[in-house]
Amino acid sequence: MIQLSDIVVKFDDFEALHNINVHVKEGEFFTFLGPSGCGKTTTLRTITGFIEPVSGTVKMQGRDITHVPIEKRNIGIVFQSYALFPTMTVRDNIAFGLKLKKLSKGEIEEKVNTIARKVDLSDEQLAKAVSQLSGGQQQRVAIARALVMEPAIICMDEPLSNLDAKLRVQLRNELKNMQREFGITTIYVTHDQEEALTLSDRIAVFNKGYIEQIGTPNEVYNHSATEFVANFIGDINPLNARAAEGMGLAADQHHFIRLERVHVNWPHEDGSYRTQGIIASREYYGLYIKYYIDAAGQTIKVIEKNDGINIYEPGDSVSVAIHPRDVMSY
């Protein structure tokens, strides 16, 4: 569907993207994930045509669109701020692109009404100003405005980043449902790993203008390809030399273990590494409890399901178990 080959983007002397290669499949929800300044938005803007690469090609459905003007790429965009025109009504916002295409009034009316129904916008809401809508409704308008142009793909640049936590979760679900319903190929940019993991079919993890790993959420989380990915996705414990030696791990590598893979007071399992520790502190999250345990000469973070029975107090002595198969080494 979308194929980026050896894309290099420079801003004056600064190389923002180094040989980016990505292949997004038809109907896929594909996410560019990474910290600020890693190149994810630059890659998206290269796809949408706002930035022209110094070298490399952008292909869509097999056609080279590297030098095709923005408006002729047939790519819908949902912006971080939604970029809804504040001086127009919701209806005018959605119809803006159609009017520029010089469609007849009847056609515009029909297309706007159809897309509005699909994204659950009422006639009353269509007559309102953008400022009169809630954050969620504004997101639906932004999506409707992008979809009404019948784009081949839709690109979303951190569309949930300006919202509060509760609304973000709610809209995240709506977004996923909408994408499933329309079946449209979606490229999504975010720095929020939880958002990427819950929404995506596949994720590309960016770092300093390179792609560190492309994979399913499970692959990038459980089988992180690089130390950066392991550290960036989810919380993780670096293991010191003593623990690594205890497990017979290579001394010339860095070793990491996810919090939920460390077990407290578990029955013995063959091959697992066990050590005694003291609960230094704990954080209560309701569904689970996070412990900071002083063990094997370091502080190890552990997440335990809150069963209401096995709750440890700071100062309690506990056994800590780690299985070497759960350790990620780089």
């Binding site: 701020s81 504040p86 001086t87 009353e124 007559a127 100003a129 142009m149």
Partner: protein, 629 residues
């Protein structure tokens, strides 16, 4: 080097257009900003061939420095009095709990609609030797000098109250921006109310106060209408006098006028550079994440509380009396106005509409009738001519300034962080450094002759002077327009432009349909405020001193000349009061449109429209209106 695809898709025509606009901009900048000022500079040092410093020597050898000293004296005194009154009115209405603060605020803000020549002539009418206010004051203080309202005292008094408009607007905003939690914290730590005001509140107001002080100083230095009308020998009236003088009467009049305006420019540049430097430091900004709204402070000490209330209402009376009196006198017939006494039986609309004849008996006992010598604002040909001319010139200049600035700011934002954008911005801010009188004086002298730069035309000849006035108005208003419109452009999210382009909009369509509608309320506000200021401006048209450019303010200024002499111009003072009322209505309307109607966003407008329809549906019994329609 990153490139955008937009550049590639642009047609060649746009390049030709860009070159045309660029050349025009350079032509206008050089012709109407740089060359006239350089000409003025040249005239100072080139008045005596071979002796470039002759004018300067002559200047300092004579009485000329006294004009500079007088202006400086006025500026320094104004800084003190305007700040005392300005800070007082803001604290009394916004910080302290004073009863009737809303009414007081309205009174203090009357200078927003009552200013310039109208205000000066109004004060003169009420406070001069036989003015109503002076008569009342003499009854209260019999030892008082009846002619107190003249020269320096009159100018200082009038300008003190006329120049607090900026305090009423900007200091009020600053005090409203104070985080009340900081006041509470200081109180909690044991600070007494006065200490809180001095140590917590005032420091946060200092940047605004500093800006206001500099602006007041410049206003005092460049004062024109008050010194001219009330008789005070300061720089600007002297420049105008010298500009109209000839070498047959005195030595180097034009060169001395030029030197005075350059001295003024020097002061202005130094002051504005200082201000700019200070503003860039950006001190005392609130760092609070969530600001608590300021709660008015009750003055606990009952004695101070009473004194504060008395002070507040005395100021209110000073502000309101001229306004009320002028309005009342505008509806009095000429004998009542001439006698400066209000009388119910003297009510009339003649100062506004229509004409009346005046019949009188000559010294030889003959009955004579002068036809139509009592006339209203809208029936007097001179006044209507002044209104029409000021309306057209102000509207043209305000519109031109807006168009230039909108196009320029769009360019500046498109090429931000590039040198050319900074250069365009600097060119438009250039007039800010120059006193208005220098610009007008330079225009007047540079274009007075067949000037090659404008194809051999004399722009200071007959009707051409109107074009010159429009250009001067436009140039003077560019910096203000730039600052306001630029602030509006900052509010445009970059993504809006990207979104429009993504949907196929060209640069022009994006500008016209997306960006312009967003900044339009601000642009219209700038237009309205500039129009408002220019419609009643006096200083510039007075500098041009041309009968072809007699603005409304100049007409007002000369309205009472030879009032009643030989039975002519019988109701000059009444018509002047009526003119002031007319200006107040226009200014009030403009301020309402700008800050009332213009400040509403689309949502608010739709909401109001819906309510209006519901109201009408209810009234006519035609059922309910579908919400949102």
């Amino acid at each position: 080097m990153q490139q955008t695809l937009q550049k590639k898709s642009g047609p060649d025509l746009s390049l030709i257009w860009k070159i045309f606009v660029g050349v025009l901009f350079v032509y206008l900048f050089l012709g109407f900003m740089v060359l006239p000022c350089l000409d003025t500079l040249k005239s100072v040092f080139g008045a005596v061939p071979g002796d470039p410093l002759a004018v300067i020597r002559f200047f300092f050898a004579g009485s000329m420095p006294s004009f500079v000293i007088n202006s400086l004296k006025l500026a320094v005194c104004l800084v003190v009095t305007v700040n005392v009154v300005g800070i007082s009115i803001v604290l009394l209405t916004e910080y302290f709990d004073i009863k009737g603060a809303k009414i007081l605020r309205l009174g203090y803000m009357t200078t927003l609609i009552y200013s310039g020549v109208a205000l000066v002539t109004g004060y003169q009418f009420l406070y001069d030797g036989n003015g109503m206010m002076t008569q009342w004051l003499i009854k209260l203080f019999p030892m008082m000098n009846k002619q107190w309202f003249s020269g320096f005292r009159a100018v200082l008094f009038t300008m003190t109250f006329a120049c607090t408009s900026n305090h009423a607007l900007f200091l009020r905003n600053a005090i409203r921006g104070i985080d009340y939690n900081t006041v509470e914290a200081a109180r909690n730590l044991g600070a007494k109310p006065f200490k809180v005001l001095l140590k917590v509140v005032m420091p946060t107001l200092l940047p605004t106060l500093f800006s206001l002080t500099v602006m007041t100083f410049i206003t005092g230095l460049c004062a024109m209408s008050a010194p001219t009308l009330l008789g005070y020998n300061s720089i600007n009236p002297e420049i105008v006098r010298l500009a109209g003088s000839s070498v047959a009467d005195e030595a180097f009049p034009q060169a001395r006028a030029a030197l005075l305006s350059l001295i003024l420019a020097l002061f202005t540049i130094v002051l504005l550079t200082t201000l700019n430097h200070y503003e860039r430091k950006g001190h005392y900004l609130s760092v609070s994440k969530t600001k608590a709204k300021l709660v008015k402070q009750k003055i606990q000490n009952p004695v101070w509380n009473v004194i504060a209330h008395i002070y507040a209402y005395v100021l209110f009376v000073i502000y309101m009396t001229p306004v009320v009196m002028i309005v009342l006198f505008a509806f009095q017939n000429w004998p009542a106005v001439r006698a400066k006494s209000l009388n119910v039986s003297s009510w009339t609309l003649i100062n506004f509409f229509g004409t009346q004849d005046y019949s009188y008996t000559t010294s030889r006992g003959k009955q004579r009738v002068r036809e139509g010598v009592i006339s209203g604002v809208f029936s007097n040909s001179d006044t209507v001519g002044g209104i029409r001319l000021s309306f057209v010139l102000s509207a043209l200049a305000a519109a031109l300034a807006c168009v230039i600035v909108v196009v320029a700011v769009n360019y500046i934002f498109k090429h931000r962080n590039k040198k050319r954008a900074a250069i365009v911005e600097a060119c438009l801010l250039f007039p800010w450094l120059l006193p208005t009188i220098l610009i007008c004086y330079s225009f007047r002298t540079f274009f007075n002759g067949e000037v090659w730069y404008v194809l051999g035309q004399n722009l200071y000849y007959r009707e051409n002077v109107r074009f010159l006035i429009v250009m001067a108005y436009t140039v003077v208003k560019l910096p203000f327009a730039l600052r306001m419109v630029k602030a509006a452009f900052y509010a445009i999210d970059d993504e809006l432009e990207d979104a429009a382009r993504n949907m196929g909009a060209s640069s022009l369509v994006t500008f016209l349909r997306v960006k312009l509608p967003i900044v339009l309320p601000s642009v219209l506000a700038v237009f309205a405020l500039n129009f408002n200021a220019l419609f009643t401006e006096y200083d510039m048209s007075a500098t041009f001193q041309s009968s072809y450019g007699k603005s409304y303010a100049m007409v007002i200024q000369s309205m009472t000349a030879e009032e009643g002499r030989d039975g002519y111009n019988m109701n000059g003072s009444g018509r002047r009061c009526a003119s002031t009322v007319f200006i107040m209505i226009i200014s009030g309307l403009i301020l309402y449109l700008v800050y009332g109607v213009g400040a509403r966003d689309l949502g608010e407008r739709l909401e109001r429209r819906k309510k209006r329809r519901e109201f009408w549906a209810k009234l006519t019994g035609k059922g309910t209106v579908k919400s949102g329609q």
